[in-house]
Symmetry: C2
Subunit: 595 residues, 2 copies
Amino acid sequence: MGKILEVDLTSGKTEATPIDPKLARKFIGAKGYGAKILMDRVAPGTPPLSPDNLLIVMTGPLTGTLAPSSGRFSVITKSPETGIFTDGHVGGYFGPKLKFAGFDGIVIKGSSEKPVYLRIRDESCEIVDAGDLWGKGVFETDEILKTRYPGTSCGIIGPAGENLANFACISFDCGRQAGRCGPGAVMGSKRLKAIVVEPGDKRPTYTHPDRFKKLVKDLNRSLHTHPNRIKRHVLGTLVCIWEGIDGGTLPIKNYSGIDFPQILNLVPEKLWEENIWAGTTTCYACPVSCTKVSVLKKGEYKGKKYEAPEYEPTVLFGSNCLIDSYEWVTYAHILCNDLGLDAMSAGNCAGFAMECYEKGLIKPGMELKFGDGEALIRFIKLMAYREGIGDLFSKGVRKAAEAIGNDSHRFAMHVKGLELAGVDTRASYGMALAFATADRGGCHQRVWVPRAELYGKLKRFSTEGRAEFVKYNQDERAACFSLDLCDFMPFSEDQFADLLTFSTGLEFTKEEYVLAGERIWNLTRLLAVREGISRKDDTLPPRVMEEPLPAGPAKGHFISKETLDTMLDEYYKLREWDENGIPTEKKLKELGLVD
Amino acid sequence: MGKILEVDLTSGKTEATPIDPKLARKFIGAKGYGAKILMDRVAPGTPPLSPDNLLIVMTGPLTGTLAPSSGRFSVITKSPETGIFTDGHVGGYFGPKLKFAGFDGIVIKGSSEKPVYLRIRDESCEIVDAGDLWGKGVFETDEILKTRYPGTSCGIIGPAGENLANFACISFDCGRQAGRCGPGAVMGSKRLKAIVVEPGDKRPTYTHPDRFKKLVKDLNRSLHTHPNRIKRHVLGTLVCIWEGIDGGTLPIKNYSGIDFPQILNLVPEKLWEENIWAGTTTCYACPVSCTKVSVLKKGEYKGKKYEAPEYEPTVLFGSNCLIDSYEWVTYAHILCNDLGLDAMSAGNCAGFAMECYEKGLIKPGMELKFGDGEALIRFIKLMAYREGIGDLFSKGVRKAAEAIGNDSHRFAMHVKGLELAGVDTRASYGMALAFATADRGGCHQRVWVPRAELYGKLKRFSTEGRAEFVKYNQDERAACFSLDLCDFMPFSEDQFADLLTFSTGLEFTKEEYVLAGERIWNLTRLLAVREGISRKDDTLPPRVMEEPLPAGPAKGHFISKETLDTMLDEYYKLREWDENGIPTEKKLKELGLVD
């Protein structure tokens, strides 16, 4: 669309600025373009919840096109939880609608005195008072806004974002989250309750429309009978539960990894058996259609359809809190979406809090036992509202452990302050390296290794090939997240590059596409380095590095310091970073990141 | 129990003969012991449906013990479909009950003039007139017999067995089949409608009861959280559908392998989604409990609970006949169990008949189109009753193709006369060798290779390591099927050997256990060789060897004659058989099969 909407909430001014084609060539869009804006316009040391931080909503060149899974866009900011760059990638319909309204992205700075929301339509933006919405949950707010502006798509914060919980998310159209690292708190610090995009008549154009359409047709056809598509469509992300059982990678009891035979009650098929499954839905232009829809039988959400559950909340609220029922897990998941809390960090925090409680390190003023679904629900609410014991844990496990002391950091499961995703990395050497080096902390989305290890691409329980696999896929994903397409498209780099070329006219070869990804990865590293991140932070929780897994298919394994160092050395070398994990001048020049 | 029940249906005499401990040491039990009886007492060239053929029901030393999955026993005979040895392994409760009545096995020879059944109880056997049961389906017969003799376990033939359909099965307690190769026809030729075993008070004894019990406890504990147990328990054998989708090994449209996106409707989860799943049940002493129970919504079986579906009938009636609904597939499956027809061969025959019909090679007097569930049901009934076009196909695809001519043998999917199991071997080099060399023809149970190829143990689309893998596992499985334990026990050879040692007192090391398996495998090969089987028969259908797979993850692959020859040469060499596939004198001496 060629334009970015700039919003200054302090002054109340909005304006459209042009996309810089040179930057688009170098950083593609979405993740890459957003990271570049953050680098140029947010000074190191800026407090994430200050008006000087930017909340950036960026589409990619493929968002809203005919390409499969092109519903994606990203939310970029400096995280209040980790203090470094974060990018959340969101599906659904918001991204395409933003383009249809005439904008490629929104850059929001400053802070409003009073609660407001943005009303975007037809190349314009209005800042509207949100006094009547402040304090409300996401679902109620969404309903009010959609009644007020029919056909809109809305990004909304809940009480967690308003209250600046460190891992507050932004819920888009209720079910799609910019979840991790607290973008909802940044939005809350700006007193921005929602972003509403009304239906528009602008459409992306293609420099090679016929070639683009033919390629899309071929890709859709190939997807139709592709095993991954079939599996994702039926099981959604819950397929990873089966892979986790096979590989012994599920997080169990705050990643302690004990035997948990009740996992039988959390295999995806139980969602059907328990009659919670109520359908499957899809994001914009997606032939996979992986999202499960559920109807609960109890609690405040009972009887209505909600998009849930996904793998990560299922295991983080489930096995990780020793809760073995889809009813409770899905309840917790939906509750987080409504309160605007990242369900992954919430599950990890709950597991950590339950272990602290079991060990007598905290006095939460409530029973907080592993396996107690009711306690979990109550605890989530306390975190979202930062009430009672919830206030402490709403800061995330790193800060909670600092306050609790008593060696609780040994089982505070985070990297760089971001609570780990649902993988016990002791059962996956590759995922250990992936978590240690992920650009936004303990994230599973930068590269997913367990499948390659389980199904023979990489030798299990070995450092062999891990650095290369992790580096290459981090780069390739960084490029893909700049397009911005979904993780689940099994396309080749050639096909991604062709999609980019045919739509933008910027000629990309496969190599240039992956190189752009490497450039973006180095850029996000620089964003971390300037905040003081180095090798010392590319590490894993003591539990992973010192306690052998007590049960399961990977029993006895752990990631020793030596193992991690071996992989890190190899990884830095491949990246041409120095041994402290700092990108070398030579590499940065080669990538065009310095002159 | 030390005793075998000998029944002569011609003379009407029954007697108990002792187990030969030397033979038990050499051939363990079940498969091995039964094969030895067949070798010694059924002369080469004996027509399978003549009174001179034996129908042998044999338990193994572990049947009815405390060992996990010890419900297993086997049915051994010379097959009317293949003309060679066959052994069917059956779970459920019949085997243990036979032991509890005082017998390790039953050897049935001769032929009754009038329909009869055997009533076995307390170390004795009565031959009872079955005039009132003849002509009835399995389910009705089972109900009558169980009302007459409460608490019994019954092996029953249906109309298919009475009518000597070449692939008639014996249904034990309705849901457990001695399915393949036509043991039901052998039983029918003897005019034996049923074998009824009444509850008894005998129990297997253990030479080392404490060690046995401790080992069983450990095994059960290890199974509890074993990934395979969890997967099998939830998905049953239907888990193989997912593996087939991943690997491109599903049989589609009579193994032609076209695109079949409707497979989405046959993934296991659809059984829940369609509300057909009605529970999960178990065989004797089995901690896995894999059997699905279904309730249909239409047809003569609607509204009642039946044990079904399993993987093989699901894909052979399903994708192989282009039928994409669990309702039809499960209906066909239950119908076969009731009529006493092997559901696997029935599905394969149906696919073959549908292709012949599509090509205009047969005039069945009915519409017999791929994808037509109603036609499938009608066709199954015609085969069981050998009426109309059903008579021709009740002989199996080999004989049907001989009669149809017109190059129909090119897509008659069998090996040695046994219809192939549900694997397109073009997508699995290892399974191609397994089918070509299986001792009862195109059987999947002797060794299962697709998982090893898909999940990294063996390099895909290569002959590398296939001979070794197939040979070793055929031997090991032959030993296990002599114990007789279920395919799904993920125990080590050491553990199997220990179970055998602690129960029988015959000391078996791991090596001796596998060696016994090799001895048994060579014995069954000799049973084939003496009927004229050699390398020329260790082959695959022309479709597999000449038509590249047109779609799916293994698109373009086929098993060329050169590929098969490479694997066969290596396999024979490892087996120390000559290049024609005949066991060498040296090998037979080494194994103690000749003096």
